[in-house]
Amino acid sequence: MHIPDNFLSPPVWATLDGIAIPAVAYVSRQAQRATDNSRLPLLGVMGAFVFAAQMINFPVGLGTSGHLVGGTLLACLIGPWAAALVITSILIVQALVFQDGGVLALGPNVINMALMGVLFGYLPARAFFHTKWKSYGVFAGGCCSVLASGVLALSELTLSGIRMPGTLLGASLGLFTINAILEGAITVSVLRAIERLNPGITDSVFGKTESIGSYSSRWPKAVAGLAAASLVLAAGGVLIASTLPDGLENVAKTLGMRFGQPAFVSPLRYYRIEAFGSEWFSRTAAGIFGLVLIYVICALGGHLLARARRSYS
């Protein structure tokens, strides 16, 4: 599910890169808060562990074998923030050293797998961790994590103007579902084995069994329900969008925008500098300006937030 460069259209990857950069900065700050110096080697080694665990084959019958993806497992073992950070690092290593996934497409890949993949894996696991349905929660986490990444990747491709025929889309969604079920089952099995070897390893993430009861029972379940609902909505959206591409385009046209044009160009449309005489140059300049604008807004927002927090304390 690593998207290579040049699959997505520039507006799509640029927007997602623009979202991913401040998001990763935020995740990294949260992870830093939960990590003291002695845990730094642990995070690195856990990343290498996920890499290595992906090499171990799980025979699933019919002569095929699957492997662990690891987002949910990592979130259960070292916490969601650290897990998202470690998966981001893994994606960077894969893109640069192994040419697996694009460099400009790092933003989309990070959002699909590191941020959303870990979030959708963590929430169900958290919701049921201290109940008797713990295994089902972890299973659902593994499933949702892979499904969320896959559906997001599909919808990004659709947004880039790739029209997939309905049968193919159905086939790939089916493939994602099989992968998701596999990931869920493998995660449950591996987590059980790890807990047998290292009792209490998940206490630092989920707390001890006695103390957490009231906390884990209510709102995380609501959040998990919400997450599941949004996942279903997104999946349905992709299906509808692909079966009715003309309908979607018509809606977009009536709203006054066309597909394949970045949303952030619009405020700059009238500022095209004719002297340069090049469609390409003006579009690029506008795009870069949009990115800078997003960056400035994020920086300002972060600054204001930090100040607000300081005045509280």
Binding site: P4, D5, F7, P10, F58, S89, L96, R192
Partner: protein, 234 residues
């Protein structure tokens, strides 16, 4: 598990290798950006890019044929995808995706084969990537091959003991991952002790000193970007 060939190639002393990693990173990103922005690249533009990349690889004394072949790694996946685009009736776009993806992969491979990862990460740190992210990336790269080797050894041992298939094999594989996790966990504690005994104080990325930009670096940067802009007017 061996290091990828690019890691071995990155320890040479050519002009390309000794160029500041920050310059190379900016140029790589600009190259990828300008490739991505070519909406309908002509054959001339694509050839220019390919020849320029080959020239850079030659200047870095990389084995050109092997690098060209290694970049073919992306083709099966991208090829499948562009076949799909081709079948939906967008023939020219399919070819563009294939060619552009290949050029992008080629340029990334040249970049990583001429820049040792620690220097690249120091450059990333210079561009204000979060310290924790950079340090974790460095550690992952360091221990990836150690743990990968261990995982492979476990699988060989499993097969040597006659492990075959069925639900017992799944059970055994989960056991392998669990043992791998336990070993990694213990290893992390030992690594931390070793780092502390060598004076680790919470700052990992400082091994490479970054010098301020010189005139030469600035000239190369400007020339590179001018060429990339010129590419769009060919």
């Amino acid at each position: 598990m061996r290091q990828p060939a690019s890691a071995r190639w990155s320890n040479q002393a050519t002009f390309i290798h000794s160029l500041d990693a920050r310059i190379k990173l900016i140029l790589l990103l600009s190259f990828l950006l300008s490739i991505a922005l070519l909406r309908a690249p002509s054959a001339l533009q694509l050839t220019c890019c390919l020849l320029a990349l080959i020239a850079i690889a030659a200047a870095a004394r990389l084995p050109i044929l092997r690098v060209l072949r290694a970049s073919l790694f992306v083709v099966p996946f991208v090829g499948l995808f562009s076949l799909l685009v081709y079948l939906t009736g967008d023939a020219s776009r399919a070819w563009f995706i294939l060619a552009k993806s290949y050029l992008s992969a080629f340029s990334v491979l040249i970049f990583i084969s001429s820049t040792p990862l620690p220097r690249l990460l120091a450059a990333a740190r210079f561009f204000r990537l979060p310290a924790l992210l950079v340090e974790v990336t460095q550690l992952i790269y360091r221990y990836l091959f150690v743990l990968g080797g261990e995982a492979r050894a476990m699988q060989i041992a499993f097969r040597a003991r006659g492990g075959k298939s069925g639900s017992r094999a799944v059970h055994a594989a989960s056991g392998m991952v669990a043992v791998l996790f336990t070993r990694s966990y213990e290893k992390a504690a030992m690594i931390h002790k070793a780092m502390c005994s060598r004076g680790f104080s919470g700052n990992l990325i400082q091994a490479v000193e970054l010098s301020p930009f010189g005139l030469q670096e600035g000239a190369i940067l400007c020339a590179g970007i001018a060429l990339l802009i010129g590419l769009h007017f060919v």
